[in-house]
Amino acid sequence: MNYTLDFTPVIDGLPNLLWACLGTFTLAISGMLLAIVIGIGGVILRQSRVKLLRWLVIGFVELIRNTPFLVQIFFIYFALPLAGIRLDPTPTAIIALGINGGAYAIEIIRGGVQSISKGQTEAGLALGLHKAQVFRLIILKPALRTIYPSLTSQFILLTLTTSIASAISAYELTSVSQRIESDSFRSFEVYFTVTVFYLFISWVMMRIFAFFSARYFSYPLR
């Protein structure tokens, strides 16, 4: 092949790429936080005594899990303006990521909650705590601990999914790298660099997860 690698454009674009990493990171973290809220809230509603609420959650989960993220983000960005709701790309991306990740999180966390023995709930009730207190103070933490690996895998996937937000011009790593590529036409160099950056971002995310695991989920088990 008469192709020589030339990283100059990538190096020139490095400041931009680093800012874009931060953009990706912001999307990932905000989307993840929203996903956690939706996940936990969804699980609570899913256990509600009101049948309608339970079915709404199931419907939400199946609708979101079974359709592509691109379609979801397009819908929020292009179709909601028809109903008068106009959001900028970054909020759109965060909401879409949160909704998408939340739907998966609901299923994962539900598994965790179901794995906690009924005795824990009963012990809490017998101590005079309300159902909501029992869930918040007693069930939630051990439940999150049991499904922590699945949940973090899902969030790594969510981190990588931020790249799709480039389709609606959100500021993140993939879109910036594609600009550098389309200015310089150095695809291999750019893709290679971006891969390394994504790997780095995922690694940082994994470290964060490990930190929280050590901080909150390190109580001894039998």
Partner: protein, 243 residues
């Protein structure tokens, strides 16, 4: 203090309790025994409404625990419960296990709750372990924490559901000793157990259940020496006969 009249309880079509009448005075200690599946756990769980019942009435400390009544929380604060499987909260230290409910359900502040927890951990002789997590304790220690945790609510009565049957033989004694001390201080207790030595020593009455009904009810001396029903005799033969 606690009274049940005509209580009936069904799981679907299966009747687990059938017209149970029982009354426990303040300071009384009742031991509940009977074959597996006879409804002992169900009965005790109805008293603090972990199970709903469909017929009859249960009164606890003057409050009527009716069908769908709202008084459940009040009753649960007055009645402590200790489970066979301890059910300590694995993500909280021993001290936190004991402080949680007083703070959240009684509204004590942190200092008060800690004070109370330490006093009671002292009483079950486990104060050195207060910073450990449940998984780091032996079964006997865990069960004593569970007792302290229930006592932190200053209950008027305690329910025990086979508190020693998940324990290693050597650890049984330390838990029984704790329960005996509690009994001696005058706590009202209903206790499901097969530890007949304990029953003999502390029970005011022994209640024998089979197939959801109370078959026989008598003070220990009479219960062991002179069981009236065939079913009771058979049961005692099996539980006592092995040693």
């Amino acid at each position: 203090m606690i009274s049940l009249s005509g209580v009936g309880k069904w799981y679907g079509a299966f009747q687990a309790l059938d017209s149970i009448n029982m009354s426990v005075a303040k300071g009384e200690k009742i031991v509940l025994c009977g074959p597996s599946g006879s409804g002992k756990s169900t009965l005790i769980r109805c008293i603090n409404h972990l199970e709903a019942y469909q017929k009859g009435d249960i009164h606890v400390g003057g409050v009527r625990l009716g069908h769908g009544a709202n008084a459940i929380d009040a009753v649960r604060r007055e009645v402590g419960m200790v489970f066979q499987q301890f059910n300590l909260f694995p993500h909280l230290t021993v001290l936190q296990n004991c402080m949680l409910a007083p703070m959240r359900a009684l509204g004590l502040n942190k200092a008060q709750a800690e004070d109370r927890a330490r006093t009671l951990l002292e009483r079950v002789k486990i104060s050195e372990q207060s910073e450990k997590y449940p998984a780091q304790l032996s079964g006997g220690q865990q069960q004593r924490v569970a007792i302290a945790r229930a006592l932190c609510m200053r209950p008027k009565a305690m329910l025990f559901d086979e508190p020693t049957s998940a324990l290693d033989p050597e650890m049984v004694k330390e838990v029984l000793d704790t329960m005996i001390a509690l009994a001696e201080e005058g706590m009202t207790m209903i206790c499901v157990t097969h530890e007949m030595g304990f029953a003999r020593q502390v029970a005011d009455r022994i209640v024998f259940m089979a197939s959801g009904v109370i078959v026989e009810e008598a003070p220990p001396a009479e219960f062991f020496s002179n069981p009236k029903h065939e079913r009771t005799r058979k049961f005692l033969g099996e539980v006592l006969g092995r040693h």
